[in-house]
């Protein structure tokens, strides 16, 4: 850092003709026109001041004196340098520098006051003991003892001691001035773990500070600078030790080596040992790590060790050390009592059990292989569709198990005769002999199933309503959870800086392992990058009004047409549905029931194709918007069709006094699902296959089709919505859906492998997945909840069939149950919970109020954080600028030193004196603030 300071001096020397003038100022800091020293003169202990205050700058004096790791130099020089600039108008001409002064609260004096205060309390006595501190002779001594390991670590600690004095988030700007100019950024991060969350990188960086390493560097250094002032070297060492790489590279030109290339070679070689490959990891960092690990439970400890970017051997070593330390402390501590031993044993068993079960489930994961193959050929984007599909499949297996065990098995123990014959068409229509099976609501009994012989009974009504209800609650929370997770991952940053070039470049898809696929991916990436570049080039060119107007008109027209088509489809479904009942009464044929689902599936298949053909006319400035717009239009179409169907079911079928309207709705949904499944098969087998044949054989320009992820995912969302509605009316539906999904997974996979190409555009898979899960939650699941709530609370269940026959509405099953329970004294708590919590309006009102208040508080916290992030970001930019400034200065200095190296030795001496004289001055200043 002296280098930096000297640099200032050189600057003045070269830039200002009145060099002597500034020299005088530098030397005579006690001169009356200097504001701080004037205050100093009021100080009673003025005599001691010179010695005492100068030691203030060197926090651990006894060690620092003899060592090159000279921590105080940091404070010393920074204060000095900045004071210079602050107080001498001449230096203000330097614009870069004055910028740093403008930073909100320039901490110069405050910072130093912190230092002095802390040091004063720590070892001020030892300071007073040391005479003649600033003498140049001591420096010469220090050269003889260049690598004192103690002082090294000591320095580190003592300098970091100051940081706890800046607690709180908003205190950070205190750091931004002097201290950080030489970029002790690592330390900064360490002390504010929340800010950027860098794992342990600085530990590796500090490698450089290990004695051996430094020793050699020092030797080399001193060999190169025989005739150089010694006071510089220790400070250089300090710099190298404290800061990471940046300063090392800085240090080398600053050393004023005459063999310039060599010094650079050194810096470029060293970094290889910068990372963890260094045989001896940094002792200080390691010790700290071990110390922090000892007090953690085993599991967390393993987690942290695992998370270190170290090699296996190093990790093992750390673990061993921790274990040893742990044993040591365990021997000293009191023996664990029996209870804790018991607990730990249980925890151990539980962990073991968990690992065994997780391994078991992993071995069951049959799709792992399939997904790997897809990933290797098509990358993460297509993989995300398939993982969504398998997720849905697993989810449906879960729903099936729930329904099967709590509703279907009890019903099967109480069989009813089925006298309808099976024809085969039932598979498609779901009617006929299927009507009298456990597939539909109508088959279930409303009585309590009693087991012969034993006394156990099973209330079918309650089982039905509770199973479905709990299932929906589980769905709700799991969806909410996964939605929240992906939202958190995708919207971490409130700033939108960029168009994502960097993301594009840094996120190579390592899952792709096929040679061909890699080539393809590379080509796609190239076009994407080129497009991105051309977009940036054209960004500044404002499109003419006429063009914008025409584009707007096209968008408007496209929206009108698409909405019109969607409304027309809905109208068609509406009229067909309402006329369907008459039609069905006239034609008793089963196949006639397929008309409505066929039409709906046709709409669902062809209208989206029609929508995507808009893309030929409709051009978007940002390609991502196109995908979003297509998704919005499609979801609008699908959801409104489902909405119309629900309206038809709840308003027409449910009040039509049919014999068993719930079963009819169940059948309708069954048919829709089946038809949709057939259409999907048809689409992937013939659609994609034919498209490929046409693309490769007939019209070569079309090429092989790309896999349309958005359309396929929307299809999945649509079927899942239908399933959720249907689960009440047909409890076995998850089983059917499970089978169809399984077939679809395989068909899609084969079709994909044979016919398709990965999408050429970079598909932001996880962002899209967030959107899809959100869609699954918002219009789809919440809509289903509304429909089912109406069914349960408002509609009158059919009188002759189903578990709820004879009740005014389904919810009356619960009311009745509570009524019964209230007569039994041992169950009064259930009644109390129901009356005061679940059934009470006041409770929900208060709950909502509390939730709203918490949400509001969190919202305010988020707002605060946003401001905070903004400030920190500005600070980082400022720091970077200062860093750049210092690099420039050092390079300049290096050049000028090349010249001055030819100067006689006396010149050096004089400079040294100057720097030492100045060494006193900041101390006086600090002193003033300290008291």
């Amino acid at each position: 850092m002296t280098a930096f300071y000297r640099n200032q001096e050189y600057e003045q020397e070269s830039d200002y003709p009145d060099f002597t003038n500034s020299r005088v100022n530098l030397d005579s800091l006690n001169s009356p026109d200097y504001p701080y020293s004037r205050n100093n003169s009021n100080n009673l202990k003025f005599k001691d001041n010179a010695k005492y205050s100068s030691t203030h700058n060197y926090p651990n004096c006894p060690d620092a004196l003899n060592s090159p790791d000279y921590p105080g130099a940091e404070d010393y020089l920074d204060n000095l340098g900045f004071r210079n600039h602050q107080e001498y108008p001449g230096s203000h001409t330097n614009t870069t520098f004055s910028r740093s002064q403008r930073t909100p609260d320039y901490p110069g004096p405050r910072n130093s006051s912190h230092h002095s205060r802390s040091k004063h309390s720590l070892d001020s006595f030892s300071f007073v003991m040391i005479p003649d501190y600033p003498g140049a002779k001591d420096y010469q001594d220090s050269r003889e003892d260049p690598d004192d390991p103690d002082s090294g670590s000591n320095a580190y600690r003592s300098s970091s001691k100051n940081y706890p004095h800046h607690p709180g988030s908003l205190g950070i700007p205190d750091h931004m001035g002097t201290k950080d100019y030489l970029g002790s950024r690592n330390r900064n991060n360490q002390n504010y773990p929340g800010s950027l969350g860098i794992p342990n990188y600085q530990g590796a960086e500090d490698n450089l500070g290990t004695p051996d390493n430094w020793g050699s560097a020092y030797k080399q250094n001193s060999q190169n600078n025989h005739d150089y002032s010694y006071s510089e070297n220790p400070e250089m060492g300090n710099k190298g030790h404290h800061s990471g790489l940046f300063h090392r590279t800085l240090g080398s030109p600053g050393r004023g080596n005459r063999d310039y290339p060599e010094s650079f070679q050194m810096t470029s070689r060293q970094p290889t040992s910068l990372y963890s490959m260094h045989p001896v990891p940094d002792r200080d960092g390691e010790e700290k790590l071990i110390a922090s690990l000892i007090n953690l439970p085993t599991r967390d400890r393993n987690k942290i060790i695992r998370n270190q970017p170290l090699t296996m051997q190093e990790k093992r070593k750390i673990k061993k050390k921790v274990n040893m330390e742990k044993q040591k402390s365990a021997n000293q501590s009191i023996q664990l009592n029996y209870c804790t031993q018991c607990l730990t044993a249980t925890a151990l068993h539980y962990r073991h059990f968990k690992s065994v079960t997780s391994e078991f489930f992993q071995s069951l994961d049959v799709w792992q292989r399939t997904l790997k193959i897809i990933g290797s050929k098509f990358g993460t984007s297509v993989l995300s569709y398939f993982s969504f599909l398998t997720w849905l499949l697993k989810f449906n297996i879960f729903s099936f198990i729930v329904n099967f065990s709590f509703i279907i098995i009890p019903q099967l123990t109480d069989p009813k005769p089925n006298n309808l014959s099976f024809t085969g068409l039932e598979l498609l229509t779901g009617a006929g002999s299927f009507q009298q099976t456990v597939l539909y609501y109508g088959f279930y009994t409303n009585s309590t199933i009693k087991h012969k012989g034993s006394n156990t009974s099973y209330n079918m009504q309650l089982a039905y309503i509770f199973t479905i209800g709990l299932y929906l609650v589980i769905c709700f929370f799991s969806l909410l959870y996964s939605m929240a997770c992906s939202f958190r991952n995708n919207f971490i940053n409130p700033h939108v800086y960029s168009r994502g070039t960097a993301k594009l470049v840094f996120s190579w898809d390592f899952t792709i392992t096929r040679e061909k696929a890699v080539k393809l991916k590379q080509r796609n990436l190239t076009t994407e990058l080129k497009e991105n570049l051309s977009e940036i080039r054209h960004e500044n060119v404002i499109t003419p009004l006429k063009q914008r107007l025409s584009r707007f008109c096209i968008h408007l027209a496209a929206w009108i047409v698409s909405t019109g088509v969607a409304i027309a489809c809905c109208a068609a479904v509406y009229f067909l549905a309402f006329n369907n009942m008459k039609f069905l009464r006239e034609h008793k044929n089963q196949a006639a029931t397929l008309l409505l689902p066929f039409l709906v599936c046709c709409f669902n298949l062809f209208v989206p194709l029609f929508y995507s053909s808009f893309g030929l006319v409709e051009k978007f400035e940002i390609p991502r918007h196109q995908v979003l717009v297509i998704i919005i239009r499609n979801i609008f179409l699908k959801i409104s069709i489902i909405g119309i169907l629900c309206y038809y079911w709840l308003n027409s079928i449910a009040v039509s006094h049919e014999e068993c309207w719930e079963t009819l709705i169940g059948q309708d949904i069954y048919r829709l699902l089946m038809m949709n499944f057939l259409f999907t098969l048809f689409d992937s087998i013939f659609g994609e296959f034919l498209r490929r044949i046409i693309g490769t054989k007939l019209i070569k320009s079309l090429g092989v089709p790309e896999f349309d992820i958005a359309r396929n995912v929307l299809e999945l969302i649509y079927t899942q919505t239908l399933l959720w509605i249907g689960i009440f009316f047909a409890p076995l539906l998850p089983f059917i859906h499970m089978i169809t999904l399984f077939i679809m997974l395989n068909v899609k996979r084969i079709s994909l492998m044979m016919n398709c190409l990965p999408p050429s555009k970079v598909w932001r898979a996880s962002q899209m997945m967030t959107l899809f899960i959100f869609l699954l939650f918002f219009p789809s699941f919440t809509g289903v909840l509304c429909v089912l709530a109406i069914t349960v609370w408002r509609l009158k269940p059919s009188a002759q069939c189903g578990p709820f026959q004879g009740l005014p509405s389904i919810i009356h099953a619960i009311y009745g149950w509570i009524e019964i329970l209230s007569n039994r004294p041992s169950y009064l708590w259930v009644v109390w919970i129901y009356r005061n919590l679940i059934g009470s309006v006041h409770f929900f009102f208060i709950l909502t109020l509390i939730v709203v208040i918490i949400t509001y508080l969190y919202w305010q916290i988020i707002e605060g954080r946003k401001i905070m992030i903004k400030l920190l970001h500005e600070q980082i930019i400022n720091e970077g600028k200062d860093k750049m400034f210092l690099v420039e200065k050092l390079l300049k200095l290096q050049e000028s030193q090349k010249k001055t190296n030819t100067f006689p030795l006396a010149q050096e001496r004089r400079e040294q004196e100057v720097s030492l004289n100045n060494g006193k001055s900041p101390g006086q200043k600090i002193r003033r603030h300290g008291f």
Binding site: L196, G197, I198, Y201, E205, L245, S268, P271, L274, Y275, M277, N302, I305, N307, T311, M312, R316, E359, G375, G379, T380, S486, I492, S498, G500, T501, A502, K503, V505, F506, S507, W508, D509, F510, T511, I512, T513, R514, E515, A517, V518, K519, Q522, R523, L525, T526, L529, N532, L533, S766, Q767, H873, I876, I877, E879, G880, K881, K883, M884, V887
Partner: protein, 191 residues
Amino acid sequence: MGSSTSHLSKELLTEYQELTFLTKQEILLAHKRFSDLLPQESRNVEDSLRVRVSTEQILTLPELKANPFRERICRVFSTAPERDSLSFEDFLDLFSVFSDAATPEIKSHYAFRIFDFDDDGTLNKEDLKQLVNCLTGEGQDTQLSTSEMKQLIENILEESDIDRDGTINLSEFQHVISRSPDFTSSFKIVL
């Protein structure tokens, strides 16, 4: 592979499980794959834990064969002084970092090192240039022109170089990565 000899001891397995993100099956599979790379006579447990496999042989694995960063990956994970060979533990480290369970922090740390072609601790313009060349491939038709490359690198720096010092350091890199959630799912190699 000698089926009778290819069992790692239980203690070693637990230790590997504790020190890596891999499950038992994955470790065993990795060991099997690693043993396959060894010459016939040294395919027993002791040798497989001791012997190093050269980078060229590691790169014959189908998982790495086509990867444009394959040499860098091997170099980063090698503990040999010349950085040209991998021991079994290095091999495990590699697949641990690229596994599903690895945290985003450690993934981004190693990604940074893989992209840091000259091992100097920051991504400078030269590193970025090499990185983009890896991404676009060697082919004549896919390579970017000099001016395009220059502009691209400027854009990258503009987006990710927060402190504006002309290079991207680890924290800046991790900051960019944290905003691209796809990274974790794509920085993955399944054995």
